[in-house]
Symmetry: C2
Amino acid sequence: MRAELLTVGDEILIGDIVNGNAAWMGRELTRAGVRVDRSAVVGDTMEAITAAVSAAVAGSDVVIITGGLGPTADDLTRDALAALAGVRLVRDEALAGLIRDRVERSGLRLRPMSLRMAEVPEGATMLPNPAGTAPGLRMELSGKTVYALPGVPAEMKAIMKASVLPELDGGVPPAVLTLRTAGVWETVLATRLAPLEALEEVSLAFLPSPSEVAVRVTASAPEVLDKAVLMAKELLGTVMYGTGEQTLASVVHELMAARGREVAVAESLTGGLLGAELTDVAGSSETFAGGVTAYETRLKHELLGVSAELLEARGAVDPEVAVQMAEGVRERLGAFYGLAVTGVAGPGAQDGKPVGTVHIGVSSPKGSRFFTPVLPLPPDLTQARANIRRMTVVQALDLLRHEILGVAMVRDWEEDQEGREGLT
Amino acid sequence: MRAELLTVGDEILIGDIVNGNAAWMGRELTRAGVRVDRSAVVGDTMEAITAAVSAAVAGSDVVIITGGLGPTADDLTRDALAALAGVRLVRDEALAGLIRDRVERSGLRLRPMSLRMAEVPEGATMLPNPAGTAPGLRMELSGKTVYALPGVPAEMKAIMKASVLPELDGGVPPAVLTLRTAGVWETVLATRLAPLEALEEVSLAFLPSPSEVAVRVTASAPEVLDKAVLMAKELLGTVMYGTGEQTLASVVHELMAARGREVAVAESLTGGLLGAELTDVAGSSETFAGGVTAYETRLKHELLGVSAELLEARGAVDPEVAVQMAEGVRERLGAFYGLAVTGVAGPGAQDGKPVGTVHIGVSSPKGSRFFTPVLPLPPDLTQARANIRRMTVVQALDLLRHEILGVAMVRDWEEDQEGREGLT
């Protein structure tokens, strides 16, 4: 079964928001064995929507539209579908009642425009929206099935799960698995995996993101996939931290939970991003004690006990400062592990250290050490801030992961690893 | 001038990553007065890429392709363009030298596959890549201009800015501005702005996201836009916190910087996200002192001085706890403002409080108060965690903004506002 996704909304075309809906649907449909061939985005005009729906219907078995079902005047998907089907819009009174109730339950007054969401193309099937107001719609257009869902992500997802995915029979899902790695360059990784890529029935795709590379393995059959993944594990060792939906944070959480351990974090340039990533994992209260963000240099001394002389002599961006931050937060919060980051996110240099300089410290009852990652930087450093912060979080989580596992970090399998990590 | 965007990559279709490149390009092209009519995504096959490029070329003046220029075997955009143009791929030795240098400068050994990036379709113009290795390409196909850029965001952006945008003459950019609001429902906002929407030469688009709604105002001319924005400001008052690229965090930063003030944050359910958002702003060290994430209840007492009796009696999710957290972090970090959040992000309830319960405290020399936002929740609370954390950050920043401005928060213009905020 082949599907085309159609996202409706000027806000996507002109980039006011990113098309996260298409990504989520692509993931879920692929899992269900439905092949997503194309994904298109068009603006909020009758012409653009009707043209795109007609084209999509011609080229695939199922078309899933998101967006344009809201209450405001620029929501035109309902009207476009009615026009294509040659029917009129009719108000569903039961739905109108639900809308009235929901608004009033929130202590607000019903606005007439809210009732636009109760108008549906004659003959269309309404798909209940457990997460919001506007229902999804299912219609037949020239023999193909067309779904229309609200653009609000939570509502789209709820209707997809409750109504759309159960109706779509994609047959056998492909044998595919995404391997997750951190800290190694794409080409280094690809070269290491060459023996795997050489296999006839296996294909690899490399998906780089700041300090991480995901490798999607597609195989001709489940048993082939199992063999390929086993082979990848042997080739990559601890560089491969997980598979599928796992994240560095979820893996670190699982490793600590299995050992009954907790981490406390001390942050500077990341401003809380490291703790936010660790607590993005449901159940993180089991392994995350808390954190201290000592953004101002003086607070590294006042809140974390970093030596004032050290800060005076070397500034805040220093390996030893990272180590003392890790030790300080570990002791003060009473956690097994202390993890700390200090560095320069930019746009300007700090304490004479250039943008992109980052030191990570980790501390446990076994001792403390630091890691100084080499971060790739764009020439325009005003654009680097977000990436540097993100890469710092990834490298810190990966250092903690290796600390828990009690192994050294790998940056390449053929290079001199010395001098990249220091013991104190 | 009309442009079509084409993103190449299975990883986008199957949702391994979101299409942030298309969003960024849409924004920049719109600013440059280039109208983005369509955006499409296709997979990593010669057939899909060549078909999509041909279709795009037929339908628009300029086609901008991203992705498929990397070093690995699944990078096929170069090959597809050569095939469409009926030329062969030739190696550029100067580029091959650059690639060799860059790899070796990073202390790594050159992998043969890296040199794939030095192969370009005969006759194509290379656009220098100041942020990475693979250059951008410009070619003419059936009289239209086609650009191909790497999929790595930083590299795509650098080449767009250095080579592509300067070449594209979009004529007069449209008179458009995005207004940013927080804390008010889309329908409430739209009703409030009805007089504006009634104007002939103005059109509005509403872009909701957790606890925020952006309103894009498009006008027939710059002077009409100015009038419309002025009118919107009068109608919305402090509910409108900014315009364009401004964020709640950047606005709060500007407000504090203008007054020479700093904020310190105390977090619980957000795990550091509030501090991360405040420090996402370049120059935030001027207004952000630091933060304490007291994820474990005991730490709210140990690190922030919240009354142990209070925590014992009412648990960690309580308005008075939020206030004491704000006061505690303000005193301990020596900041003018203390901002604190406590609540239940889920998946499970905590201290008998249901998922979605959130209390925000703010403290300054003028006194302390709390705010208890009413957050809309999906039925499937396992999906709510990220949204609850995000909405909590937005509501907290908005409370701080109102505190700085010394005005009360508005949830609607026609409802009883009492009981939503408390003074202690």
